[in-house]
């Protein structure tokens, strides 16, 4: 794990120029420019080396099937049993429980497990919302119909972002939209997504001494990841607001940072939708 990954070999135009110090872009791994002599000519062009393994050690089945061969929409509508999720999530929660101190820490950890998923799901959502989502790799039809497209639109304003959460993210995860979306009446930076029957809470009975805990913090983390990823920095948290009818009713409170609201005003002024 540690150390400079030898597999990260950057093809360079001029191998003799490998040592060029780069002050302005120190992040570029200038020292990892290829020094392999065996196939340097192939690497330099980056072209005639289809099986160029660089220094990777990964093996593949003889079918050569990799994740890059798999259609991204293949499991889009696939289903598993709800209990498979319930049991798995239960294990995830009890594993987390053993490694935390207190409810706050507990929720923080669940949130942190959801967060990277949110960052990843945002691009999956946009991929699937794009016009050519299912055909890009299948056909080479050079349809020029959507010259500005090629993929879906990124959310620039709060409303499209929140709508993406309730009508795209939610169905992706739970096969249904969220129950409602509300804006706080007291704080313009706060929005609430309401779920009457969060899947995460259905199978987990929290001990009495932890009744403040909401395991839906996992979902809150996913929501926060999507928002942050899209450039709407925020904190998202899950709160139990059970009623007689909906004992597991949960409010996801999203509090956006000030600069997000400032940008929102500016975009409003400029007429950006």
């Amino acid at each position: 794990m540690a150390g400079a990954p030898p597999g990260h070999t950057i093809p360079s135009y001029a191998a003799s120029h490998a040592g060029s110090p780069s002050r302005h872009m120190s992040q570029y791994p200038s020292t990892t420019v290829t020094t392999t002599t065996t196939s340097s000519s192939a690497l330099v062009s980056g072209t005639p080396a289809p099986t160029s393994t660089l220094s990777s050690t990964l093996r593949y089945p003889s079918t050569r099937k990799t994740i890059y061969d798999r259609n991204l929409n293949r499991s889009r509508n696939a289903e598993l049993s709800r209990s498979s999720f319930a049991y798995l999530f239960m294990e995830m929660v009890s594993y987390a429980h053993r490694r935390v101190k207190g409810i706050q820490d507990f929720e923080k950890r669940l949130n942190e497990q959801g967060y990277p998923l949110g960052l990843k799901l945002l691009d999956l959502l946009l991929y699937r919302a794009g016009p050519g989502a299912s055909s890009t790799s299948l056909t080479s039809s050079s349809s020029t119909s959507s010259s500005g497209g090629g993929a879906a639109h990124r959310p620039l304003r709060l409303l499209p972002l929140l709508t993406l959460l309730t009508t795209k993210l939610y169905p992706l995860l739970f096969s249904r939209p969220a129950d409602s979306l509300e804006q706080s009446t007291t704080n313009p930076a706060e929005y609430m997504i309401i779920d009457n029957t969060p899947l995460t809470n259905q199978y987990i009975s929290v001990p009495k001494e932890m009744n403040q805990l909401s395991v839906a913090a996992y979902i809150a983390g996913i929501i926060e990841g999507v928002c942050d990823g899209a450039g709407f920095e925020c904190k998202a948290s899950a709160h139990n607001t059970g009623t007689d009818v909906w004992p597991n009713r949960t409010v996801f409170l999203i509090r956006f940072e000030d600069h997000v609201l400032e940008r929102e005003k500016e975009l409003e002024r400029q007429g950006v939708k």
Partner: protein, 172 residues
């Protein structure tokens, strides 16, 4: 045409780099940048400068495909950008050949001046780059979905590299 392609994280870290030349119209896929030995450094520099332009336009247009957003006249370089939902920038620097070389030279007279290998700003070139970017985006999402890919880390998968090379050969 010579190409320098780089995927840049929201914190401006390069996650993936590839240099290649046109494969269209008999091109051999080898990059021949006119700035010679300094090309690698210059290309990185030019692309980084173009990130400022991306920042200016990314909140004005919801499109992911932002087309040519910048150019650098001294080397006749053009920079196209595709931006993902998470503010990851796919930057493609494209530079037409300065001189016709031996391998492509004999054919160059028959190639239309608007063709992908020759003209960096023609609609055909733009469309080809869009297709390339769209294909890379699909590869990118597949990379993301791998639980072992950590956001913000360089993409090391050799298969990913191989597929981006393939997309370049197919469209550019």
């Amino acid at each position: 045409m010579s190409y320098y392609f780089v995927i840049i994280s929201p914190t401006d870290t390069p996650l993936f780099e590839l240099t290649f030349g046109t494969s269209k119209a008999g091109g051999d896929g080898v990059a021949r940048f006119r700035n010679g030995e300094t090309a690698r450094y210059m290309n990185q520099f030019i692309v980084h400068a173009a990130l400022d332009v991306v920042e200016e336009v990314q909140w004005l247009s919801p499109n992911m495909w932002l087309k040519v957003i910048d150019n650098y006249a001294p080397t006749n370089s053009h920079i196209s950008c595709f931006i993902t939902g998470t503010n990851v920038r796919f930057m493609l620097l494209h530079q037409p050949s300065a001189i016709t070389n031996a391998s492509a030279g004999s054919r160059s007279s028959t190639i239309s001046s608007t063709s992908v290998p020759q003209n960096p700003t023609s609609p055909q070139t733009e469309e080809a780059i869009r297709q390339f970017m769209t294909e890379v985006f699909e590869l990118w999402v597949k990379t993301l979905m791998n639980p072992f890919y950590t956001i913000g880390k360089p993409i090391k998968s050799p298969v990913f590299r191989q597929r981006v090379v393939g997309a370049g050969r197919k469209w550019l």
